[in-house]
């Protein structure tokens, strides 16, 4: 189901992508419609199609200003803005082709449809299903034009159309579906990478704690053994043991500054060693436990050791 965009990514990231899509389509609408107006006006004069072109360019300008002024618009509004700009192309293309057909001039039908279909496939934001639906509308309007305006007869064209446009539409739908799938994979990768980084930092933190405790523990280990072997506790021994305890206390003070980072849920008020071990087991896929001692006192031996 991820192919259909049912998995959600970061809202900020998706809004940014939608913003850029609206920016691209707004600029294309403004530039494209103004250029076509300049090209077609000498041929057809100032017609309804010219008015529609200028209205569409004006709409593109308004949307462009709106998204530039409100840079952090919500994703839903941006996706809506994209469709507000794209959907008028459907009646506009019908009007334009009707005008061209009525003029009796030869023209290649559906070139604009194909351009729009491929362009939309590349930039359409929001759920892939919605994008596929939009492309389907453009394909459907081409087929309807072919039948209603009788373009095949008027132009004397071979019957490759409207099927070529239909094939373009199918390819474009594939592109939209692929983009949706790619977004899902990219989100998953970003999530896994973030988790791996967090776990690696956690592993470093846990190792640092263990490293800080190792020397004072070693001192206590030897001093305790010496006391057990009937060596009387000398002032030096007491000093060393006090130093070791002091170092362990300093380690606890160091850790205390991170207390506020802990979150305590109901039923998780205590953390016993077994529970901690169980939790660490969950991190095993990232292999952060490689450095944990397998056998007390021995880390490893070198090749010759």
């Amino acid at each position: 189901m991820s192919l259909l965009g049912l998995e959600r990514g970061s809202p900020d990231e998706e809004a940014e992508v939608a913003w850029r899509s609206v920016l691209v389509v707004a600029v294309l609408v403004i530039v494209g419609q103004l250029l076509f107006t300049a090209v077609t006006m000498p041929l057809f004069g100032f017609t309804d199609v010219t008015i529609a072109r200028l209205a569409h360019a004006g709409l593109g300008f308004l949307v462009l200003v709106a998204i530039l002024v409100r840079r952090s618009a919500p994703k839903g509004s941006l996706v809506a803005a994209f469709y507000v700009l794209a959907l008028p192309l459907v009646p506009f293309l019908w009007m334009r082709d009707a005008e061209l057909a009525a003029s009796g001039l030869p023209f290649a039908p559906f070139v604009a449809h194909k351009l729009a279909i491929i362009g939309l496939a590349v930039v359409v934001p929001g759920p892939p299903l919605l994008g596929i639906g939009l492309i389907a509308v453009f394909v459907a309007i081409a087929v309807l034009e072919w039948v209603v305006l009788d373009l095949g007869t008027l132009q004397g064209l071979p019957v490759l159309e409207p099927w070529v446009t239909v094939i373009y539409g199918l390819v474009a739908m594939g592109i939209v579906a692929y983009r949706g799938h790619h977004r899902v994979v990219a989100r998953r990768y970003a999530k896994v990478t973030a988790e791996a980084t967090a776990f690696a930092e956690l592993a470093r933190f846990l190792l640092a704690i263990r490293d800080m405790s190792s020397t004072p523990l070693q001192n206590l280990e030897i001093d305790t053994a010496l006391l057990e072997r009937n060596h009387p506790p000398t002032p030096a021994a007491v000093r060393r043991m006090r130093n070791a305890v002091k170092q362990l206390r300093e380690m606890r003070a160091f850790l205390a500054q991170y207390d506020h980072l802990a979150t305590w849920g109901r039923g998780r008020e205590s953390l016993d060693p077994e529970e901690l071990q169980s939790w660490l087991e969950q991190l095993e896929p990232l292999d952060i436990r490689r450095g944990l001692p397998r056998e007390r006192g021995r880390a490893n031996t070198g090749p010759g050791g």
Partner: protein, 122 residues
């Protein structure tokens, strides 16, 4: 048996030397830095066992540097690394990749320290 001990913790150097001298009757030469070890080169090179801490602190020569110096000086004794770091620490990995050495992770049991000098463990 003569033993050289290098660790940046003066307490630990003192303790290992005390343990080895009182329990295993070893002669112990302690140092808290590579420079300290080099300052007593003649005595150190005459030892049969060198116990080297791997990490001697930030920005100072490490136990690996001490190992390199010992090998360059033709040291023939046994070399054992002692470390408070995990096996993934870069210096520890470097130590483990060296030939003819052992790497022990703190806290090492007293019996294991005594076994290094061939002393009975009880």
């Amino acid at each position: 048996m003569k033993v050289a001990v290098l660790d940046d913790s003066g307490d630990l150097v003192e303790l290992i030397c005390l343990l080895l001298s009182t329990t295993a009757e070893a002669d112990c030469i302690g140092a808290e830095s590579v420079e300290g070890l080099k300052a007593r080169a003649k005595e150190v090179l005459a030892t049969e066992l060198a116990v080297l801490d791997v990490n001697l602190g930030a920005g100072v020569p490490s136990g690996i540097d001490a190992y390199t110096w010992l090998v360059e000086q033709g040291y023939t004794g046994r070399i054992v690394f002692l470390t408070g770091h995990g096996a993934t620490h870069p210096l520890v990995r470097e130590a483990m990749a060296l030939g003819g050495v052992e790497v022990l992770e703190k806290p090492v049991e007293v019996e294991e320290i005594l076994a290094l000098v061939g002393s009975p463990t009880s």
